[in-house]
């Protein structure tokens, strides 16, 4: 040992003491794990070492992964898109003649068969949200009635409103070659918002007792709700447009009815059947379809084929209803179902992120698409949707970021607020809807359970170490392992691999001595085929 600098006596003494102490300190035997390090580090990080062999590989691997997830996302979107295409095709393709038409016996005295030349009246039941589906089958049914020279077509209406576009399509279809009649019924029904426009636009309008006509929605008189969303100018535009439209419709009915009709839009007023009758907005009160047929008989209406006298007394009724696909699509307009579909969709898509299985992502995408399709005729509040998604996101984050429950509580709160505000204030046509409280409660519980249980479990599963090496059984588990020769391979011998002894032979027939490392490359019955490690 070189001593570069003279130390004073006491330091020299200290130097000697420490040196002696250190020399007498024995090194404890190396623990097994430490002794095995020269091998284990090479196996613990094979990827890192593989990449240091060829640095370009890392980039290639990254690209491969990115490409793979890209392809999968594309496949998901393609399947979801195909589904939507099929659905929309079914819808548009369905406009025509393939309605389920069920001729029904009339309320004639039994035993009397309808005369072959007795007039036919088509009855179309239009319930729920006014949307494209309803527009499709109402206009389809009117065309059907026209081509079959029906005496009249009756729209049995019960709606809270819907999309303006669908409403205008229905209104247009009600100007036909044959008399069109809207009957708001049976008792307890409503024709609110868009329904009011439809009712007033028919040639003849009847209401059952205990029904309502007019905007049921509490829209502020100056359209402040629309103003909050789109600005005052847009609100004024929407309002004056609606007023002009209802004026033009009501004018055709009776001059007296105009002011009354405008009040349903501007003051958002709702009227009973008696009020509407007093204002000359409807032609009368009718408690049933037969009542409508009797009252309408003999009245003169203006159709596209000129002035006609309605002959409906004793007519045979033919009821027209939605087909299965239309019924399904019409169900999606339900505010609760659209909300549930959105939540399920978001949850499923989130599962896809944590536990990629394609199926979940696909179901989630379809669910989301159906939800937005259904929300098309509903006053969807974008902020509400955002809050619902954010709430679910916070619930999921709780499993990744420990926040001692703060994220969960916050997530639940945000979710509930979003659910309550999911539907905003409607315009003149849209229905007033909200998500039902029991639905909110159930979906909140579901989202919370999902966040805490499912995602939590998935995260835990992912963190679990893969059980490798222990308890390996069966021949297919041994291929790819590295073993050690126990009895010389000449070329047949014994190899210790996977904690068991195996008969083995070398692939090329060469001889391998004891204690040599070999790689198991294959199997031949119960004999392993091995290769010498070089």
């Amino acid at each position: 040992m070189n001593r570069p600098e003279p130390l004073d006596d006491s330091d020299v003494e200290m130097d000697r003491l420490v040196r002696k102490f250190a020399r007498d300190s024995r090194t404890p035997p190396l623990p097994d794990e430490t002794a095995a390090l020269p091998w284990t580090v090479q196996h613990q990080s094979p990827r890192a070492s593989l990449f240091s062999l060829a640095p370009g590989l890392r980039a290639v691997e990254g690209l491969r992964r990115a490409a793979f997830s890209f392809v999968r996302l594309g496949a998901t979107l393609a399947v979801a898109g195909t589904f939507l295409l099929v659905v929309s095709h079914t819808r548009t393709g369905g406009t025509g003649s393939d309605y389920i038409i069920a001729p029904q016996p009339t309320a004639r005295p039994s035993g009397v068969v309808a005369a072959p030349d007795a007039p036919k009246v088509y009855v179309v039941k239009a319930n729920g949200v006014v949307d494209d589906v309803m527009a499709d089958y109402v206009s389809g049914a009117v065309q059907q009635a026209e081509s079959n020279n029906a005496a009249a077509v009756i729209i049995q209406l019960d709606t809270l409103g819907g999309s303006e576009y669908a409403m205008r399509r229905i209104v247009k279809s009600l100007t036909a070659r044959i008399p069109t009649i809207v009957w708001v019924g049976p008792a307890g029904s409503k024709a609110a918002s868009a329904g009011t426009f439809i009712t007033l636009s028919a040639n003849l309008a009847y209401m059952a007792p205990q029904t309502n006509l007019g905007a049921a929605s509490p829209v502020a008189a100056n359209g402040a709700d629309i103003a909050a969303t789109y600005g005052q100018t847009e609100a004024d535009k929407v309002m004056s447009d609606a007023v002009a439209y209802i004026t033009s419709i009501a004018k055709d009915r009776h001059p007296q009815a105009v002011a009354w009709a405008v009040s349903t839009v501007q003051q958002a007023k709702s009227y009973s059947a008696d009020d509407a009758l007093a204002a000359q907005a409807i032609n009368g009160k009718a408690s049933s379809v037969d009542d409508v047929l009797n009252q309408a008989d003999g009245l003169t209406v203006t159709t596209t084929s000129g002035q006609l006298v309605v002959h409906t007394k004793g007519a045979t009724t033919v009821s027209v209803s939605e087909d299965l696909v239309q019924g399904f699509l019409h169900t999606l307009d339900d505010p609760n179902i659209a909300f549930i579909l959105l939540v399920i969709g978001v949850l499923f898509v989130a599962i896809e992120f944590f536990h990629p299985t394609l199926l979940m992502g696909l179901l989630g995408a379809i669910s989301l698409a159906l939800s937005f399709y259904g929300s098309g005729s509903l006053p969807l509040n974008v902020l509400g949707v955002f809050l619902v998604v954010l709430g679910i996101g916070m619930l999921i984050l709780e499993t990744a970021i420990p926040s001692h429950g703060l994220l969960t509580i916050g997530g639940i709160a945000v979710f509930v607020v979003g659910a309550v505000a999911y539907y905003g204030s409607p315009g003149p046509y849209l229905p007033t809807v909200a998500v039902a409280w029991p639905i909110i409660a159930v979906m909140t519980a579901a989202a919370t359970a999902y966040g805490l249980l499912l995602v939590g479990t998935l995260m835990r599963m992912r963190r679990q170490p893969v059980p490798v090496g222990a308890g390996l059984v069966g021949i297919d588990k041994v291929v790819g392992l590295i073993g050690e020769v126990r009895a010389d391979l000449s070329p047949l011998g014994t190899v210790y691999v996977g904690r068991e002894s195996w008969s083995a032979r070398t692939r090329d027939g060469s001889t391998v001595g004891r204690n040599t490392k070999v790689l198991v490359v294959g199997q031949d019955g119960l004999t392993l085929i091995v290769e010498r490690m070089t």
Binding site: E5, P29, P31, A35, A36, S52, I482, R499, L519
Partner: protein, 201 residues
């Protein structure tokens, strides 16, 4: 320390074997990679020669066998990661010591934020071989008063039997600094020991 069940070489052999058979290689590409990597004999030989001294230095530096194992493992992993890029393989010894010292310093810094190592306060019955070895003499116990930087110099100097120039190389500090730290360390040890020795005489 648990009773060894056989000669160290045999136990080491078993541990290696267990790890070797644990690696599953399925595809031909991976198999080729394993053949290429798993038996980098040069690395195994080079690292095997270092382990004993590395464990000794780390153990007496940290005064804890578990910490020493962790540090040696971390240093080995780092060495393996950088092995392919190492040009001068004949300098492996010096290179690996530098890595080890670096890991030790980092770990000591982390530990000193949490607790102070004081042999006097430690539970000597805990059976840790390094702690027991240090506690057998006043010199070993005095080691705990040194700051991390002084302690590294002392351990490298006496347990590693390195020259001051070599220490400067491992720590990547000027030799003058090493000298002054060495000096300061000896002084501090003496101040700590003298009253005890005085009583003993």
């Amino acid at each position: 320390m648990s009773d060894p069940s056989g000669p160290p070489s045999e136990r080491g052999m078993f541990a290696k074997e267990a790890y070797l058979s644990a690696e599953i290689v399925r595809t031909p590409v991976q198999a080729a990679a394993v053949r290429e990597i798993a038996f980098d004999r040069a690395f195994v030989t080079a690292l095997e020669a270092e382990l004993s001294m590395a464990y000794r230095l780390a153990g007496y530096l940290m005064a804890d066998s578990a910490e020493a194992q962790d540090v040696v493992q971390e240093a080995s992993v780092r060495a393996w990661r950088a092995w392919k890029d190492l040009r001068e393989r004949d300098r492996f010894h010096a290179w690996f010591s530098q890595i080890l010292v670096n890991v030790c310093r980092t770990r000591l810094r982390q530990l000193s934020k949490r607790r102070t190592l004081d042999v006097d306060d430690m539970d000597l019955e805990s059976g840790d071989p390094f702690r027991a070895s240090l506690a057998r003499d006043a010199v070993g116990r005095a080691l705990s008063v040194l700051s991390n930087e002084l302690r590294i110099v002392v351990v490298l100097r006496y347990w590693g039997e390195l020259s001051l120039a070599e220490i400067a190389d491992r720590l990547k500090i000027p030799i003058g600094t090493v000298k002054s730290r060495h000096h300061a360390a000896l002084k501090a040890l003496r101040r700590r020991i003298e009253p005890v020795e005085g009583v003993a005489r």
